[in-house]
């Protein structure tokens, strides 16, 4: 993708702070994220990982500090379409099947070329569950449906909030595999986790919240 600031990082935070009712949640925080980079956000429960994620999506406004997207101040409409967010709430409709959920996501966010819904579901290990209502799937399987969305939607930056929660060993490997392919293709990702991440594509950048 061409950009007016070729040297600018994909995402840059300068002195980012957030307060909730005048209690500091985190910050000041400085970091930059380039294309082809993975950054881990580490911190204990309540250290503001999810809050930081919501700020980076543009859903929340930071109280102080600045955020830049490709060198320009970040607003929710500038980065929309280039950022995909996977949070605690997966954004899946329980009454619809995985296939219907993914078709809706594609209709809204767009579609990567050469990726089919059924192929993506097979990649995340849900072949045979295409027609099942999501409400009948287990927590881990629901997470896998949400991961399939990452495969289908075109986005430069993945914001993954606790992607390993509810997943078994093969699921964790699946997330790592998805991240490695994404990074290798020039994408970037920010991942929060309080567990160790086995990442094979080199040592990721780490941001620690709260001391």
């Amino acid at each position: 993708m061409t950009s007016t600031h070729p040297a600018a990082p994909l995402l840059e935070a300068r002195a980012l702070c957030f307060h909730r009712q005048d209690e500091p949640v985190f910050g000041p925080l400085d970091f930059r994220l380039d294309a082809g980079e993975l950054t881990l956000i580490e911190g204990d429960n309540g250290s503001g990982k999810t809050t930081l994620m919501r700020i980076l999506t543009g859903l929340l406004r930071p109280e102080e500090g600045e955020l830049f997207w490709r060198g320009e101040p970040l607003t929710w409409d500038r980065c929309s379409g280039e950022v995909v967010f996977l949070g605690h709430q997966l954004g899946l409709k329980a009454e619809l099947s995985p296939r219907e959920n993914l078709r809706f996501a594609i209709g809204l966010h767009g579609h990567r070329e050469q990726s089919g819904i059924d192929d993506a579901l097979a990649t995340v290990g849900l072949a045979g569950y295409e027609e099942e209502p999501v409400r009948k799937l287990s927590a881990g399987q629901k997470k896998r449906v949400a991961l399939a969305r990452l495969l289908l939607i075109p986005a430069a930056l993945w914001l993954l909030d606790e992607p390993y929660a509810n997943l078994d060993r093969t699921g964790i490997e699946l997330v790592n595999g998805l991240l490695e392919t994404h990074i290798a293709h020039g994408g970037a990702a920010l991942v929060t986790s309080h567990g160790a991440v086995q990442f094979h594509g080199g040592e990721p950048q780490r941001i620690r919240l709260h001391d």
């Binding site: 909730r20 009712q21 005048d22 209690e23």
Partner: protein, 252 residues
Amino acid sequence: MAKWTPLWLHKLSSPPVFYGFAGKLRPWAIALALILGIAALYGGLVLAPPDYQQGDDYRIIFIHVPCAWMSLFIYGVMGIAAFIALVWRIKLAEVVAMASAPIGASFTFITLVTGSLWGERMWGTWWTWDARLTSELVLLFLYLGVIALYHSFEDRRQGARTAAFLALIGIINVPIVHFSVNWWNTLHQGSTIRLLGPSSIAPSMIWPLLTMMAATKFYYFASLFGRARADLLSLESGKDWVRQIAENEVRR
């Protein structure tokens, strides 16, 4: 904050400055409200002559009309503060908008009660679907909606901003309601006697009315300052200036 706003306004919108400023002005506003209120009541209830049509019953206008006026005035202030709060995200504007709502609701309630008392004497019924009374009732519901929405949020600033948005919707709604209720009233042939006839005002009735309007306004500012100060203290409880005030209180 935009650059074109005067510096003193920008300074005043900082919570500690406003806190001190409002604290200094508040006793004066209370005193003026009391003096003017008593003078207006004396003028209205004792000095003014009885109305040739309504006798002494009309004297309720010295309460009713200033309150009705305040109910709209405060909604206007709330709307302006709400607009400022949403556009420039100034904490003080949120506080002013939300502190105004209960005061405005009280004035609206007094207007309804006094209007109903007067209606009982004039029309022989406590409530009539008169266009003005009905609009006032809708206004009360608008106020209550803003107050209820504000209090249903856990985060007070978020609640204030959301309720401010509702107040702005209400500002558009008030004239529409007034227009539609007037139309509805002509359709259904409602009562046509007015509390304040266009011709029946003598100068000896006018000055208590105007004095009472001033008194209610001073009361509003006194009450607003008190509420806003309390809200600012609790919103900014973690800040240094609040801690300093608390320490001074203890030392005294």
